[in-house]
């Protein structure tokens, strides 16, 4: 459990950071990932247990994280929106998404956070840790998958007016503005947690930037890459991107957020 006085001090400094770790059946890796984050970052950690059937929640609690257990599996989008809502209600300034399998190195965190808007003048609202931007020679993907990722990156770069090379990365930090938006609108559909959420942010006028990071080898679980799955990924990516581009999103982020509405008319 995080120390409350510690938390208040950080909130006063305007840089209260919440690390949200979406975790689905990650009992093998979660404890090491949390220990890693605790050792390198001055932040509270919220593990959103996405309907795991193994000991993920127990392991995460034992490792000293706050644990929020979803009643059934919602996907990364659902887990992350839960995290964003928690962050908004508890006054955090920055929300970090780190995958539970340990492939995101928390040592890059200060680098990512320093690019956000209040920390840096004219900074971004959403910063992504990107895999193909120089660093990260260890990360290999098949040809159709690489083509799909290039396509997504190309379209989103044009939309963002900045060079983005890896838009499907789950390593990202958001400032208060993006958190307010994501607490209301964070799609649970395929690629919704990465591509579509970025389109939503861009359409709402948020600025997106990227930082090259090196991904580590997964600490648990198997990477799923066969040629068939890669081709399927390409098709689904095109559908998801097209839908994201044509969809209309309300520009008021607070329309579904019942935070202050506690009075009940009798």
């Amino acid at each position: 459990m995080p120390d409350p006085s510690d938390q208040t001090a950080r909130k006063a400094s305007g840089r209260a950071v919440l690390v949200v770790v979406p975790a689905w059946n990650e009992e093998a890796a979660i404890a090491a990932t949390i220990a890693d984050i605790r050792a390198t970052a001055d932040a509270d950690i919220l593990v959103v247990d996405d309907g795991s059937t193994d000991r993920t929640a127990t392991e995460a609690t034992a490792a000293g994280a706050l644990v929020c257990s979803l009643p059934y599996n919602l996907g990364v989008g659902g887990a992350m929106r839960t995290g964003y809502r928690y962050a908004l209600r508890h006054g955090y300034d920055v929300v970090v998404q780190i995958d539970a399998d340990g492939q995101h190195d928390p040592r890059y965190l200060p680098l990512l956070i320093d690019l956000l808007a209040p920390m840096k003048a004219d900074g971004a609202d959403l910063v992504v840790g990107a895999r193909f931007a120089g660093e990260g020679s260890t990360y290999r993907v098949s040809l159709p998958r690489r083509f799909a990722m290039r396509l997504l990156a190309g379209v989103l770069s044009r939309l963002a007016h900045t060079k983005l090379t890896d838009v499907t990365s789950g390593y990202r930090v958001a400032n208060r503005r993006a958190v307010e938006l994501f607490a209301a609108h964070y799609p649970a559909e395929y690629l919704g947690d990465t591509v579509e959420s970025m389109v939503i942010a861009l359409k709402a006028g948020c600025r997106v930037a990227q930082v090259p990071v090196e991904m580590r080898i997964r600490q648990g679980g198997q990477p799923s890459q066969t040629p068939f799955r890669a081709a399927l990924f390409l098709a689904r990516a095109v559908v998801a991107l097209s839908l994201a581009l044509i969809r209309r999103w309300p520009d008021t982020p607070s329309d579904t957020e019942p935070v202050t509405q506690t009075s009940v008319s009798a």
Partner: protein, 121 residues
């Protein structure tokens, strides 16, 4: 009276009776009942006055009146399934939001229990 007329009347009256009963027992919301009621009344009208169907197919330029009937029936079914997909999507959105809120509430509640035990001990 020939067989199609009897079947048509029986079918539409049965649908109307079932609709009435479902609405009365509050198993069916009125937004779904309206379309079904329209279908049943339409079938009833066409069975009792087949001239309506003949006139309609003449107007639409369909040679065989039965084809117009089949076309209309498939359109009605499609609209109904589409309505169900739409409602299903809305329900999924709502249950997702509820699941997220439930998880957050449960966490806050468990945190409060831990605090209370700490204060007692």
């Amino acid at each position: 009276m020939n067989a199609p007329v009897v079947l048509g009347i029986l079918g539409s009256v049965l649908v109307l009776v079932v609709l009435f009963e479902l609405l009365r027992r509050r198993h069916l919301r009125e937004k779904y009942a309206v379309l079904w009621a329209l279908v049943a009344v339409g079938v009833l009208v066409m069975t009792v006055f087949p001239g309506v169907l003949y006139a309609a197919s003449d107007l639409a330029g369909v040679d065989v009146p039965a084809n117009l009937l089949f076309f209309l029936a498939s359109m009605v079914l499609m609209v109904l399934t589409l309505q169900h997909s739409y409602e299903l999507g809305r329900l999924e959105d709502k249950t997702r939001t509820l699941a997220e809120e439930l998880a957050l509430l449960r966490m806050e509640l468990e945190g409060r229990d831990v605090d209370r035990k700490g204060a007692d001990g």
